[in-house]
């Protein structure tokens, strides 16, 4: 088999899917891309058995055929070859010879029949969403996903679908983010948990624009299609915790602060907190917010005061500064409000003003101060 392809076009497409491939795999063939040539169409597949990504591009080819090519060496060479047409020659034994203006490169491929099969998209439900909406949703929730493998349900983002909208929820048991879109309509009320890795890949591969994406799912898999790029992944088969009951509905006190000022203060004061707990104490009194952190082991101390609007009783409450910084980073409004009640109950962070068809709510649990 023989085909001719533009080096930079191929590299650009492969970069979208090479993230699927893990560095240390169980099966050597998972370190390969599957190349499949059909009538001037080349499709390339990468998989780690959980997540599968596929791209297509135009090539010049007279024959059809398939081969597995080791991903790392191919990527490394493409990165260093200037833009030009490359000729791929594959023989019966799956030896791959790449011819460029500069010379020839040879690499041993593998039998494509050994490459794992794609999951079958049967019995699916589908809906569409704009690319920008999905990327935004991932950006706003992914950071709160747990890394605790003992609680698999929390290691992914929970998608909750119904006719009126689409909701994304992520939690690591210490904080929770819920992002709602009302400009999406799903065929029926349903829910699923998508693991972290495919979402990270989607975030990088999908453009932030109004392109339509098609999302399909069945009981085991999620399929996302954007033009010639496809991603499918296995869903997390676990029960997402009942998060609705932990969102307090009666936090009476409202603290309003400038988002960037608050984030900056937390960053600076947080440096002086203990590196494992990142504990920062917020003391709110009248229109003044004081942030304090200390690390007794090293005699570090950080202290800042800033202006705020507050309508409640004086309160002292401790949070993990890293959590707050990440949450503030997920919002883009000028002000944020923090709804509080007592020093041991969850605080709710909301952006100052929100678009009509989206709603963001973030929850963070405090650290228990000694009374």
């Amino acid at each position: 088999m023989k085909f001719i392809v533009s080096s930079s076009a191929l590299l650009k497409q492969l970069q979208q899917i090479s993230g699927v491939i893990n560095a240390n795999t169980v099966l050597p063939i998972l370190e390969d891309f599957l190349f499949d040539v059909q009538k001037n169409q080349l499709s390339v597949v990468a998989t780690d058995l959980e997540t599968v990504m596929k791209i297509q591009l135009e090539v010049e080819a007279k024959e059809t055929g398939r081969v597995c090519i080791p991903a790392k060496i191919l990527m490394d060479s493409l990165k260093n070859i200037p833009e030009q047409p490359l000729t791929f020659n594959i023989d019966k034994n799956y030896a791959v010879e790449i011819t460029s203006d500069n010379g020839k490169y040879k690499v041993m491929g593998e039998n494509p029949d050994n490459f794992p099969k794609d999951p079958v998209a049967d019995d699916t439900n589908s809906f569409t969403v704009t690319s920008a909406a999905l990327v935004t949703a991932i950006n706003k929730t992914l950071f709160a996903v747990s890394n605790d493998d003992l609680r698999p349900a929390m290691t992914g983002v929970f998608f909750e679908m119904d006719k009126k909208g689409l909701q994304f929820v992520a939690t690591d048991a210490h904080r929770l983010v819920r992002y709602k879109r009302t400009d999406v309509s799903c065929p029926k009320t349903d829910s699923l948990i998508v693991p972290k890795k495919p979402l990270t890949l989607l975030k990088a591969a999908m453009p932030v624009n109004e392109d339509e994406l098609t999302i399909s799912y069945n009981s085991n898999h999620l399929f996302v299609t954007h033009g010639t790029t496809q991603l499918s992944c296995r869903l997390i088969d676990a029960r997402f915790p009942d998060y609705k009951v932990v969102i307090p509905s009666d936090n009476p006190y409202k603290l309003t602060v400038n988002r960037t000022d608050f984030q900056g203060a937390l960053r600076r004061v947080g440096i002086f907190s203990n590196k494992s707990t990142n504990q920062v104490v917020l003391s709110i009194s009248g229109s003044q917010l004081q942030l304090t952190a200390q690390d007794i082991d090293f005699s570090f101390e950080g202290n800042e005061r800033m202006k705020c609007q507050y309508n409640g009783e004086d309160l002292q409450i401790a949070f993990n500064a890293k959590f707050l910084i990440e949450m503030l980073g997920a919002t883009d409004t000028e002000d944020v409000t923090v709804e509080l009640s007592t020093s041991t109950k969850a605080g709710i962070i909301r952006p100052g003003d929100q678009d009509e068809n989206e709603e963001l709510l973030m929850l963070v649990m405090p650290l228990m101060l000694n009374t």
């Binding site: 048991a173 210490h174 929770l176 932990v246 690390d295 993990n320 041991t344 650290l367 000694n370 009374t371």
Partner: protein, 385 residues
């Protein structure tokens, strides 16, 4: 890096510290065989006077055995509060006098005197410090002065009690050579036995074994041993020791296989030290349970956990460790629990596992304990334990 030639490390060790404190408090005890330790027959000897040592008694020996060796010995129940008070007193004297020191244990100090020789002469300075400690605390203390920690410690041990010894630079090997290998810190019963079987009795012989052979024999620790035998030790004097663990243990009146009793003991002890942890605003990342059977075989098991100081998590961890550890139907003599990997901080409340009722309960319990004493409110399972 400073050359070893220029380093001057002093090692101070209080002589029979617990016993010295006791005789200081009650001068009538002076000159008598004295055992400090648990009151009952079941405890071990925490310390003994030099008079008692003549009978073959040494610390860590069961009290019962010690009494058999010397029936006339006076037994005193250890009073750790008093010992820490005196230890602090000595620490304060040292702190006021020297630039860098390390408190290696309750009665041992390393002092880095590097550079001091220009002004006072290390020997003179060390001698003056000893007199000062002796005058202010009334406790006898010995010291060794050498170019590193290892040699200074060995020197101190050689001249105890109430002695002093300087090993000038270059003389380390000569000093160590004739000593028995068990004088080297780090050679315990097992390593010592292994070496003795090979015919290695003195440090001299040990130092002459090719280092490669030592490595083959014992791995990395072998190289360390060889270096020690040659008087080489580059470990620095570490000025500050953060408390690394909180622990408690108890030896039972009679050995037991009553798992209910053992469990209630475990709960009581865990609750006790978890409260201390919270009072110090600390979190632990590692729990260890220790179990000693009646035949003195001792086993420990530990587990790393996400940082916490909450009773319910620590109790669960401790119980799980105990259940894994206690697999033989043997009488248990001692049970202990230890928290390590301590960091300052407060408990991160969980969204799903912690209810508001539980958090309120914790705060209520702790405020009762703080106000009326930590024994006033405990879990029912720990009552009577």
């Amino acid at each position: 890096m400073l050359l070893s030639k220029d380093r001057h490390i002093a090692h101070f060790d209080l002589d029979a510290f617990f016993v010295s404190v006791e005789t200081l408090r009650n001068p009538k005890l002076r000159g008598k065989p004295l055992l400090v330790g648990g009151g009952s027959d079941r405890g071990v000897v925490a310390a003994c006077s030099y008079e008692a040592r003549k009978f073959g008694i040494h610390s860590a020996m069961p009290m019962k055995a010690a009494r058999r060796l010397c029936p006339d010995a006076i037994i005193i129940k250890s009073d750790f509060e008093a010992y820490s008070k005196y230890s602090r007193l000595v620490t304060d004297v040292i702190k006021d006098s020297v630039p860098v020191f390390e408190k290696a244990s309750i009665d041992e100090f390393y002092i880095d005197l590097t550079g001091m020789d220009r002004f006072f002469g290390c020997l003179q300075f060390t001698d003056q410090l000893k007199k000062k400690i002796n005058k202010e605390s009334g406790l006898p203390i010995s010291w060794g002065l050498a170019s590193n920690k290892l040699v200074s410690k060995v020197a101190t041990n050689e001249v105890k009690p109430n002695g002093q010894l300087e090993i000038p630079f270059g003389n380390e090997k000569n000093f160590l050579a004739p000593l028995s290998i068990i004088k080297i810190p780090g050679i315990g019963r097992e390593t010592g036995y292994k070496l003795l079987k090979m015919g290695v009795e003195t440090v001299k012989v040990l130092s002459e074994i090719p280092v490669e052979m030592m490595e083959n024999l014992m791995g990395k620790p072998g190289i360390d041993l060889w270096r020690k035998a040659n008087g080489i030790d580059e470990t620095p004097v570490i000025p500050y020791h953060e408390q690394k663990s909180i622990s408690t243990e108890s030896t039972f009146q009679t050995d037991t296989i009553d798992t209910h009793f053992l469990h209630s003991q475990l709960v009581r002890m865990t609750e006790e030290i978890a409260f201390q942890l919270r009072q110090q605003n600390k979190l632990t990342g590692c729990v260890t349970v220790k179990l000693r059977y009646s035949n003195f075989e001792t086993f420990t098991k530990q587990m790393t956990i996400p940082y916490t100081n909450a009773d319910h998590i620590l109790l669960k961890t401790a119980t799980a460790l105990f259940n894994k550890l206690y697999e033989r139907r043997l009488l248990v003599r001692l049970l202990g629990i230890r928290f390590t990997h301590l960091i300052p901080g407060n408990y991160q409340i969980s969204l799903f596992d912690d209810t508001q009722e539980m958090i309120n309960l914790y705060q209520a319990i702790d405020s009762v304990k703080k106000r009326f004493g930590e024994k006033t409110i405990i879990r029912a399972v720990g009552v009577g334990a």
